[in-house]
């Protein structure tokens, strides 16, 4: 009797939760259906399904914002940023974790301390530094800049992980005659695979979607814009043409959703590992 009761209770609870999750995602559903409507259809009824699929919205926005170009920009910025963050942070964290000296402690502190500096506190001067170094108004420059912004968290996470790797591994490789670079890349780095995944996931979500830094750095020319930035300026110009605005939203968001669907398990794991370490 009692088990029956809890079983029925579970089913009811499950149904309620599924309905709740659908309501939760309803705004995204509305965005998608309205991106497929004509202007007049959006204006008459937002919640109705589209009567004729207005795929022309997509081709219009695709051309207008030069979607392939923006996608490439996002790809370059995110890819370059990630490569650098992973490389410079892993080698530094490894050396810092293995060296027991006062200098090493100070450098480690200098590396992770910036996590407490809010970006808004330095945004103007970052922009100026970037200009002095000729890094502004270019996708490559923006990608390079992310190396420093991503490094503190990455060093912190790698450092915690390296401490768990026994030093005997280093010693035996050194005895076999490996140089320290060789030792790091053929022995240590492969052992860091799971942390690297975590860092890559956290940083891809962050750099791909970042807004304020691209706004300050690459907003000047349509050739250097990112997807989010283009969606932002596009909506600014078309505040009343909601069908185009919604199309631009869907197109900006679609790559992230597709990646999420395929890598869901790793993304959730990566976020948990990153947060618990961070």
């Amino acid at each position: 009797m009692k088990t029956n009761n809890t079983k029925a209770g579970r089913i009811i609870l499950e149904v309620i939760l599924v309905i709740l999750s659908l309501l939760f995602l309803y705004p995204l559903f509305l965005t998608i259906i309205n991106s497929l409507k004509s202007f007049s259809e959006v204006m008459t009824d937002v919640i109705a399904l589209p009567q004729h699929l207005a795929l022309s919205n997509y081709s219009y926005v695709w051309k207008f914002i030069n979607y392939p170009r923006l996608f490439l920009n996002n790809f370059i910025i995110t890819g370059l940023g990630l490569l650098g963050i992973v490389f410079i942070s892993s080698i530094a964290a490894y050396k810092l974790a293995r060296t027991k000296s006062r200098l090493s402690g100070i450098i480690y502190f200098l590396c992770i301390m910036p996590m407490l500096i809010p970006f808004q506190s330095i945004m103007l001067t970052v922009l100026q530094t970037a200009k002095n170094l000729n890094l502004s108004e270019s996708t490559w420059g923006l990608g390079l800049l992310y190396w420093g912004f991503g490094a503190p968290l990455a060093v912190f996470i790698y450092h915690g992980f390296v401490k768990g790797i026994p030093t005997e591994i280093d010693e035996s490789a050194t005895i076999d005659g490996a140089s320290s670079f060789r030792l790091f890349f053929s022995v240590i780095f492969p052992l860091l695979k799971s942390v690297t995944t975590t860092i890559v996931i956290i940083d891809v979500m962050w750099i791909w979607n970042d807004f304020l830094l691209p706004l300050l750095m690459v907003n000047g020319s349509p050739d250097t814009k990112t997807l989010t930035l283009a969606a932002y300026t596009f909506v600014g110009q078309y505040t009343s043409d909601w069908q185009y605005a919604m199309t631009a939203m869907v197109m900006a968001v679609l790559p992230s959703i597709i990646v999420f669907i395929f890598l869901q398990k790793y993304i959730v794991k990566g976020v948990v590992a990153g947060a618990v370490k961070g």
Partner: protein, 296 residues
């Protein structure tokens, strides 16, 4: 002798080669700009003239005595941060407890609640702007609820609630995932033992689950705090600071002073105050929560 000396130099060289790249990058991204911020905060500068005029601590004095924008945006940010931290964590814990039960749709549910978190906040703001401005009309007509007829972005109090709600909608999945991970490390036999001892579901939750969740709570509150104190993107796209400038956060106020009003020196002074506030609040929060965690 010579060999050991050579080895020590090699080690030093290695140390430099491994750590210098990161130091240079972090210096460019944080330390150089930070020092420049301190310098500019004591100047009057419009960004155009070659030589910023040194004014000492005048900017700071003006911010604390005669700047109602700063006071308003600070109050907005404090209100927002407190409500955001409390609501998002309470909701996420409740939802995590439900999703921690063995349900058939668990993986769908977790993914569904997490999806908004992978979207950019600016885009989330626009999507909701559309829903508040257009979608609520249609929903109001088809349901007849006056709730949808309210001006959610046009009245100050409601615009605040809208920003809060949208931020929570976007990020709850993140906290949910942290709490589910925390719950999975709570041993089942403890709960079973409590059940045998006659503890009800409520009692079990408050006496066993919640104390053991302490590490997850520390992390989540820390993340919620650092994120909410910097709230910017969602306001920019959702309300643009309106109606009547009632939804400016500190971060937005700094952005406006610096890049829209060209008050470079004044803006950086505010930016420095924001940094100090974040520093103090974070240190207090971490000490308080760490202490509690040890006791639990």
């Amino acid at each position: 002798m010579l060999k050991t000396l050579g080895r020590r130099w090699r080690e030093k060289l290695d140390f430099g080669l491994f750590t210098l790249p990161v130091l240079i990058c972090i210096a460019v991204a944080f330390y150089i700009p930070f020092v420049m911020t301190i310098r500019y905060s004591m100047t009057k500068w419009n960004g155009i003239s070659k030589h910023p005029k040194f004014v000492g601590l005048d900017n700071f004095q003006q911010i604390f005595t005669g700047d109602s924008n700063f006071a308003n945006s600070a109050w907005f940010t404090i209100k927002y941060a407190i409500l955001y931290i409390v609501i998002v964590n309470v909701l996420a814990i409740l939802l995590a407890v439900l999703l921690d039960m063995k349900l058939k749709s668990t993986s769908w549910l977790r993914a569904a609640f997490f999806i908004p978190y992978i979207l950019s906040l600016v885009i989330v703001g626009f999507i909701w702007k559309f829903i508040f401005m257009q979608g609520f009309n249609s929903l109001g007509e088809s349901t007849g609820w006056s709730f949808f007829g309210l001006s959610w972005l046009g009245t100050p109090g409601l615009a605040f609630i809208s920003i809060l709600g949208v931020s929570i909608w976007q990020s709850i999945g993140f906290y949910l995932v942290i709490y589910i991970a925390g719950l999975q490390s709570v041993p089942d036999d403890l709960k079973e033992a409590a059940t045998v001892d006659g503890a009800g579901a409520m009692r079990r939750f408050f006496s066993i689950t919640l104390p053991l969740l302490a590490p997850s709570i520390t992390i989540s509150v820390f993340m919620a705090l650092t994120n909410s104190i910097k709230v910017f993107d969602v306001i920019l796209s959702l309300t643009g600071g309106g109606p009547g400038g009632t939804t400016y956060s500190i971060a937005y106020d700094i952005y406006r002073d610096t890049f829209q009003n060209n008050l470079y020196g004044y803006g950086t002074a505010k930016a420095l105050i924001l940094f100090l506030a974040v520093l103090v609040v974070t240190i207090i929060q971490l000490t308080v929560f760490k202490r509690r965690e040890v006791e639990a």
